[in-house]
């Protein structure tokens, strides 16, 4: 990162002069390329390179932060950070990680990142052609994108911490619009990782999702036995992920307060936070703490919350390496690494047989608004499939599904083998399909 070391030294000097005990610089840089194609032409094309640094100081035992994207005026930045530290009234101590060694992480090579722009554009163009050819009801595509990039993180501090990492990423997104008569519906699927040229699975998935929306009708209101499909389950878990954060528990903002070592889910349910997960491994978290695997739920019993250094010190435990920042400009908080429900034995098909009669929920909407992470209550718009005697009868829309996250977790009867991760962002959350005893559906 050009100019990083020089700016770092200037910031640390300025912090010391202002009377800080410690200082830490968190720097991220991202270079990315993305292209979206439409009807065989480039519709959108974007090249990005940006860098930001967040200075964190320890002043009279309190943390203060200041962020900038201009590598100038280290003194001004340090003064902002000190001003912010001075007003903190919360007495919890948030220590900085000192010098340490990190576990060896084996990241999959990603040659896609090194392709020429032309080659990347061709992947997107081919994806569009193949999606249109896949099913003659595909009328057009609303999105057909390929994105690649390299992001770097550097966390250095005056306690000797030197945490440096580089991540090479790529993903493809496809969203076909299908037409039958006057009716149009869109589907969506994405794929992360080095094998995005092998995109047939997402074409099929996106087209199947769109097809499922045709001829959908609502159902009678009432209680239904539910199969929550893997992608919908992962989204719901992601939305409620914050209830596992120790800092939320300590502030009285989590429904899991006081439930450690108690049963909070069906016996079939185990949840882990696994920073070593093969597709997205990392050596350290957002405050430079070496990665550890955490068993969060074991056979339905809550075994651990997710900790950063601050919440861990408060509870007298070790950090679970779950420090996270909501962007480089944000202070250190909590975030999952790869957080997922451990897969079970049964395939999606077998779970449909097991469901016998009820509803498969295939998508949930309104997750940013229709749920309460303090009480666990949710009421969300949903789509799905009506199942009778183990067979899918028809598509269902215009329903809401309502419940409570804890009650849902406790009502999980069976966990599928089809673990799927959602779109990464502040961590990566995954789930297999879940068979649930009942949820309240309102339709007509």
């Amino acid at each position: 990162m050009i100019g990083f070391d020089e700016f770092k030294e200037a910031c640390f000097r300025a912090a010391k002069e202002l009377g800080c005990d410690e200082a830490e610089l968190y720097a991220v840089s991202d270079r990315s390329f993305s292209v979206n194609v439409l009807d065989g032409e480039i519709e959108k094309y974007s090249v990005a390179g940006n860098t930001g640094v967040n200075l964190r100081v320890m002043f009279n035992g309190k943390n203060g932060y200041a962020y900038t994207e201009a590598f100038e005026d280290a003194q001004g930045l340090a003064a902002h950070a000190v001003d912010n530290a001075k007003v903190i009234e919360n007495d919890d101590v948030h220590p900085m990680q000192g010098a340490c060694s990190y576990p060896e992480i084996e990241k999959k090579p990603n040659p896609i990142v090194d392709l020429t722009e032309e080659e990347k554009i061709n992947i997107a163009l081919n994806l569009e052609v193949d999606t249109k050819a896949f099913d003659d009801r595909v009328n057009r595509l609303s999105h057909c994108s390929v994105v690649t990039g390299v992001s770097e993180v550097h966390i250095h501090n005056t306690r000797g911490l030197r945490a440096d990492s580089e991540d090479r990423y790529s993903y493809a997104v496809v969203s076909p619009i299908l037409r039958q008569g006057e009716d149009e519906h869109s589907g969506f699927a994405f794929k992360f990782g080095p094998d995005i040229t092998d995109y047939n699975s997402i074409i099929k998935e996106s087209v199947d999702n769109a097809l499922m929306e045709f001829n959908a009708k609502t159902v009678d209101s009432g209680e239904y036995r539910i199969l929550l499909r893997n992608d919908a389950a992962a989204e719901l878990l992601q939305a409620f992920c914050g209830v596992f954060f120790a800092e939320r528990v300590q502030k009285g903002l989590s429904l899991l307060a006081g439930r450690l070592n108690g049963r909070i889910a069906g016996e079939a349910v185990s949840v882990v936070d696994d920073p070593f997960e093969a597709d997205n491994p990392r050596a350290f978290d957002d405050e430079g703490v070496p990665s550890v695997l955490t068993n969060v739920i074991e056979n339905g019993i809550l075994k651990s919350y997710l900790y950063n250094l601050k919440s861990a010190l408060k509870d007298g435990v070790s950090s679970t390496s779950n420090a996270g920042r909501a962007g480089a400009a944000a202070p250190v908080g909590t975030a999952p690494s790869n957080f997922y429900i451990v897969k079970g034995e049964k395939s999606y098909k077998e779970l449909i047989t097991e469901l016998n009669s009820g509803l498969i929920i295939t998508s949930l909407d309104g997750l940013h608004a229709g749920l309460n992470t303090v009480s666990g209550d949710f009421s969300l718009m949903a789509r799905g499939l009506l199942v009778d005697c183990g067979s899918i009868i028809r598509s269902v829309d215009q329903i809401t599904v309502a419940g409570n996250f804890l009650v849902l977790m406790q009502g999980i009867l069976c966990v599928g083998s089809d673990l799927k991760f959602g779109i990464p962002g502040g961590g990566r959350v995954g789930s297999p399909s879940l068979l649930i005893d009942k949820l309240v559906i309102s339709g007509k």
Binding site: V35, E41, I42, E43, K44, Y45, S46, V47, A48, G49, N50, T51, G52, Y65, A66, Y67, E69, A70, H80, D83, N84, V87, I88, E89, N90, E117, R140, S142, I177, E184, E213, T218, S221, K251, G252, L253, L255, A329, P331, D365, G366, H368, A369, G370, N372, V374, S375, D377, S379, L380, M381, D397, Q398, T400, V401, A402, G403, V440, S442, G443
Partner: protein
Amino acid sequence: MINNSIISAVLYEALKTGGDFSELFLQDTEMNSVSMVNGKVETANYQRKVGAGVRVLKGTSSAYAYCSELGEEALIAAAKAAAAALKGAREFETKAVCAERLGRSGARIPFSEIDNLKRIELLKRGTEAAKAHSSEITQVIASYMDCDHRIWVYNSEGVHAEDRRPRTRFAVQSVAMADGVAQTGSVSPGFGMGFEAYSERIDAEKVGARASEIAVTMLHAPECPSGQMPVVIDGGFGGVILHEACVHGLEATSVGRGNSVFCNKLGQRIASDIVTAVDDGTIPGEWGSMNYDDEGNPAGRNVLIENGVLKSYLVDILGSRLMDHPVTGSGRRQGYDFAPTSRMTNTFFAPGKDDEAEMIASMGEGLFAAKMGGGSVDPLTGEFNFAVSEGYWVKDGKIAYPVRGATLIGKGADVLMKIDRVGKNMWMEPGMCGSVSGSIPTNVGQPRIRVSELTVGGKGGSK
């Protein structure tokens, strides 16, 4: 901010591969935020975002490159990177500056004159009022944000625009608990003003007390019954129904590519004839207002629906090429790291003629949604959903008791036709709207309205 010869060189470089339009966008934004939990300052943060974006258009194709550096070398590199999307030779030249548009900040008390102690004093006042409301309040989170957002736009057609948009927001979230059950209430006013907002528009104590009132009311509310029923939606944030269920479908982002239920409907009836809807970015001091948009065009007041008839879409430069529709001053972006697209500003149902009390008195049995939460929509089908954060059950035309956990779902096109009352007093409330060009401040607003039939979701059994 950057000298004119560099700007000209960037715009010129960007057109060298055959582009017909180039644009340089610069941003320098300073933001301060402070949060308080139960009366103690928890975090204080400062951030400055600085960067540039270069856009090249050729017909309806667009290329964008951005960087967080403002040096000549970095800007020329960005211009080259954007131009690389095209493979042709130069066809267009850049024009000399012919439209200079300089927007004034309008902040009477700039945030640079305010220190953290002033910010904290507001948080303490809001927190104390929230706690004093009821002994059932167990947690109060208060937060404050101020932002001085400055942008510069230059394009190859000779536009040079600058805008400065101060804005500030204050929020209190209260948690009420009893018998292991928790409910929350939150209130978060925001304005496009300097610190004078706190003497002129925002009363910290009222914000805190109202947040607690909602939390305590919902704590003692039974679950909302579900089914289809008449719904009265109160003014202010109730306008989220218009934002989600309709106006997202009027943005060129969806209309321009034929992906909206409102395509090809200009001049047609899309709502009941008592409905008029407006997007107005020109109102001084409002959360979603601006002088010039992020493409350098003057912010617009756009009547979208007039007496039920569709009058206009929201159109940015690229959208105007796709749709053969004039630009409406609606090009917006979160910052330099996003290319602009058509977005809302302050969007509301205009005041109507109906009496606010009568519309409940004559509704029979149904839901009164006093405060709405957020929601989302599929622009292709117009299907929306949103949460009701404070609801009341209406029986025999009278408000009977509060209900919690309600959601409203439906299709935008249906709901617009089913509005049968529009009240007289309109007000707006702020939100953050996320879309392809990032997260931007927008106001939603309306007077109290009634929808003759809507699907209500909830756990309180069938109606």
